[in-house]
Subunit: 639 residues, 2 copies
């Protein structure tokens, strides 16, 4: 049944009982959900019941690669990690690249499902089919680089690959991440889920190889992909050289690089301080994920005291925003140092930076006093304060303890009307785009199943002016529901599931993404799917994720944006005067729900849509919940 | 000729021409010098002429393993690195363990001789017999852990082993070290020699295995050794659990733990602040060198702010002294942080700590002002100042620039009578024993061919009361010349050359060291040597090293101690009232030279001694120099 691509195996690891069990990957799950995020969301929905405590033993942590990972397809060494997010309470799903994802495939498994909770700090060591539970007493408290190194030493094999948490995950910071090599599954607090299970790390080593259904077809499909990559006007010529940092200049120019907690976007656009030129002055070289010819990841070395000599892989564009624009810090070396520090402590750079920016605004407004901050002057631009608070968050000390669970929880603890300055959707901090000047991207923030997540439906049409599938006006409202659905479904189906680097979608194959994915899928797995069917899989997964969130109590009211973006027009720059009014958001949501086949009033998927997507089995479950869509209510009244 | 142990090969690498040449290891060199330090000193003497600039292209850097390294003999994964020291101008030789030394053997080479100077930052990549010169542009400026990781990534093999320098070596700090894994060849500024050659790192990977002359004999000799290890009253019962840190309590009790730049030793003995108990409260586990059943290396994790979460391998006893006792710092977490920082920046912890302690005394005496220190309050006990100055040294900033070349050079630059507070011999900073209460150890400092070096002739008889080869009174003067010769020759022959961890000599086999080395040598190499012949090899090497130093202009006058130790009696503790007067030092030196067969007036080896040791070929060379011994002068007058 599995000619290739998939190994067809799940490894189920129970930390409570210290057992490991191999299961077959059912064919219909493979064919209906492809891999990666699809697998994660499918198993999360099926196995983690409503209202499960995200930091309790019943939450599950699902590591899933896709059929492309471990093959010769370039840019496909990625994996999705899925759990119920402690930060949002919604689906928590994030991806990373590097080498761990292919190594996972080489162990012979497509999916690891981590269940239960270890009694004591533990790490799991997987060598092909052999699983060992080892004490993490020695490495508990260690930073992520040290953790990886000490495990490699202990296992006496430097080629072991490790995914781990830092002190932030151990201390259950709800903005903690999971780190493999210098790569990060950053968002939604998945590091805290690992920490709650007393799971410091997963170490893996595999010797198995992935078989391919049709090598000739694979070569042809890869040629199609690599041709598109070579023809890209930006991929090798710019992106490969500078990586995501190049975006700072772009968004400063278009007036959507968020600054000082979104209070001065466009007015204060520090491209001269944080732009690609100054970033590249710290560049010393590049790193590549397994099998990637692009190598977008930039190594940067801080040049000035007190940060001199600190290396980081990054900072990516998002971190230039969160530790730079959002906090008003203009010291590139401080941002480099903060990036490395957060990776070492295992903190999401976006959420932690936005949380600090939030505290800075409160401090400047007098809502937080020097007493509240333990004497730290938490002004915009204070890089020493930023560095101190990053450490405090990971160790849950001082003001850092309050911020360590993200801006939404911090606002609840601080009170005093602070909530309106908390820049998040569903608890997930806003990424690096002031969506007042990119409205489909704003709709994506409002509707993404993970909260404000640029990666679930990135509106490259608005941000880079790429006219695929059609040209759009970034300030317009009409048509953005349809566009957002396309962005979300295509991205899910062609990137998050197979798995494939999203930059390839954005910069090389946006026009042929589903077609190319179909070709690659057929070549590696033997599954014959049309481009339309590929896109439909993306839609299925976005619907199942939505249903998970509905079951958790999320409604249309949660599909919103921070008040500031809906009430305060941008005061300067190329997007001056623009904002997403409540009425505009309503219009976009109405269109989006209609396009999705979701009930417009509640935002709940209609029965017909779910059945069309082969998700009929979920209808029974969600109709027992309140806040049902009209369509499902009808069903309920008419059994 | 080489039945085993040796691979019999030298790899000569010329950085100027970017060439690599394989040479045979001559049998007489192997048999007369064993390996490690013996090889290093032999090639240094033969190939680096008098008055060579240590930081010029004509200095050579010699990496040499010994016949035991890479075999199944435990505790033998060590290597010696030898060059003319930029810190002392004398022989610079240091050893480290870990995994690099065996990997070197597995490449098929016993010795790497690095010559010349690369035009641009370079690293050398040796895979078995293949040598590549690669650009180090990307890694120049990186800390040592990052350097190792980025090279492994670049070579796409995490099992590559790397020896490298940090920023301190690049910046030609004369107290810079060479780091492999978390191991360090710390002393004598060998890191600056690498830096002067634009050589950032040597990366190696080997697949060859070392053959053994007689496996049965090897098993028997190993049984003898492992029995002695098991019978040791300290090795497994104490040392394996706590490592060198246990020595703090011992030397505080015996009044020889040096404190506040040797001004308060015995009076101020902070065992309660820095002793084994507090150190072990930070212990999280151990690390082992290749093939070591002891695993003395302690991993410690800082617990309190601002150092919380910083891991180090160490601090070893010496570092507890240099960053603790000598500086008066009592904050264990600061010492942990400083240890890691120095390893990352590539600075010797002993020399850098003693240099800081020197600055602290000068600051407290008013010889250095706040203006001189750039505003830093450099008082004894100020751990923030210590951390700051460590960074400044590596980057040659502020007061750190002055201290980065060691205390002797710093005293010359500072003037104002500061030289008498500079605790060094021949430019090498004093290690962690106040030798006013351990006089043979003091004589070793005065006479060691590397300067004040505890490792060249460690007087465990005085420090631990071990009565081998006989019981001694640590305060006595008579007999210390003979003892020091024994300590130096046995240590050289049984540890530094074969190569073998010195802790095994000190704690397990002191009584059978030469016998066991002879047995192991015969088993692995087929060379039949008596214990006396083994010891003679140690003597040969100490003589050749002495001749190297004589050729560089060193005389009896350089075999001395810091003024303080010869004029100020200890003011408290178990060694109260003791010091090594000039007269006592004279007596010990007279006895030492007589025992060594060196001219008593000049300290130059006599012709007869050199010929007895098979070193007759050096007589012609040294007799052309001034300051010849009487014996050699006679020779000169009577050709």
């Amino acid at each position: 049944m599995y000619k290739g691509g998939y190994t067809g195996k799940i490894l189920r690891i129970n930390l409570t009982n210290q057992t490991a069990k191999e299961e077959d990957l059912p064919f219909n799950i493979a064919s209906d959900f492809i891999g990666g995020a699809g697998f994660g969301i499918k198993y999360l929905y099926d196995e983690v019941p409503a209202r499960t405590d995200p930091l309790g033993p019943d939450n599950k942590l699902i590591f899933a690669s896709g059929p492309f990972s471990g093959t010769t397809i370039p840019c496909a060494s990625r994996m999705a990690i899925t759990a119920k997010s402690p930060l949002t309470g919604a689906v928590g799903m994030g991806l990373s690249g590097g080498y761990f994802p292919v190594e996972l495939k080489f162990t012979g498994y497509d999916i690891l499902i981590i269940e239960g909770k270890a009694e004591k700090p533990t790490y799991v060591w997987i060598m092909d089919g052999k699983v060992k539970f080892r004490s993490a007493k020695k490495i508990w408290g260690l930073k992520t680089t040290d953790t990886q190194q000490i495990i490699k030493n202990e296992l006496n094999d430097q080629n072991v690959r490790v995914a781990c948490i830092g002190p932030a995950g151990e201390n259950l910071c709800k903005i903690a991440c999971i780190v493999n090599e210098m790569r990060v599954v950053g968002r939604k607090g998945l590091g805290a889920v690992m920490g709650s299970k007393n799971l410091k790390a997963i170490a893996i080593r595999g010797t198995k190889r992935v078989s391919i259904a049709d090598e000739n077809k694979l070569e042809a499909a890869k040629r199609e992909m690599t041709r598109a990559m070579k023809e890209s006007p930006v991929l090798y010529s710019h992106f490969s050289k500078t990586g995501t940092p190049m975006v700072v200049d772009q968004t400063c120019n278009t007036g959507i690089f968020p600054t000082k907690n979104f209070t001065t976007t466009g007015v204060y656009a520090p491209a001269d301080k944080l732009g690609v030129e100054i970033q590249m002055s710290r560049n010393i070289g590049r790193e590549h994920c397994y099998g990637c010819p692009v190598g977008c990841s930039q190594l940067k070395l801080a040049k000035t005291e007190p940060y001199k000599g600190i290396l980081t892989e990054g900072p990516e564009y998002e971190t230039m925003y969160s530790y730079g624009g959002a906090t008003g810090v203009e010291n590139i070396d401080a941002i480099i140092a903060a990036d490395r520090l957060a990776d070492e402590l295992g903190l999401d750079t976006i959420s932690s930076g936005v949380a600090i920016a939030f505290a800075m605004e409160l401090y400047e407004k007098g809502i937080l006093s020097k007493e509240d901050t333990g004497g730290i002057e938490v002004n915009f631009g204070n890089h020493e304060a930023m560095i101190t608070i990053i450490k405090q968050m990971a160790f849950r000390e001082g003001i850092g303890d309050i911020l360590a669970d993200g801006t939404k929880a911090a606002a609840e603890r601080i009170g005093k009307g602070s909530a309106k300055y908390a820049m998040h959707v569903k608890g997930l901090e806003l990424p690096a785009y002031d969506v007042r000047g990119a409205k489909a991207h704003g709709l994506n923030y409002a509707t993404s199943y993970t909260g404000a997540d640029h990666n679930r439906g990135y509106a490259f049409q608005e941000i880079f002016g790429i006219p695929i599938p059609y040209e759009v006006d970034r300030f317009a409202v009409a048509g953005k529901g349809k566009l957002t659905k396309w962005n979300q479904d295509v991205r899910t189906a062609t990137c998050d599931c197979p798995t494939m680097c999203a930059f390839i979608l954005d910069m090389a194959v946006p026009g042929i993404a589903t077609k190319n994915t179909a070709s690659l899928m057929e070549a590696v797995t033997g599954l014959e799917l049309t481009p339309e069917e590929i896109q439909k899989i993306g839609e299925r997964i976005n619907n199942l994720a939505r249903v998970f969130n509905v079951r958790e109590g999320f409604t249309r009211a949660d599909d919103t944006l921070p008040e500031r973006l809906m009430t305060e027009p941008l005061k300067g720059g190329a997007a001056k005067g623009h904002f997403i009014s409540r009425e505009e958001l309503k219009q976009m949501l109405d269109e989006y729900y209609a396009e999705r086949g979701w009930d417009i009033e509640t935002g709940i998927p209609k029965r017909e849509k779910l059945e069309e997507l082969g998700l009929g089995y979920v209808v029974d479950e969600i109709k027992t919940l309140k806040g049902l869509s009209k369509s499902n209510e009808k069903e309920q009244g008419n059994p």
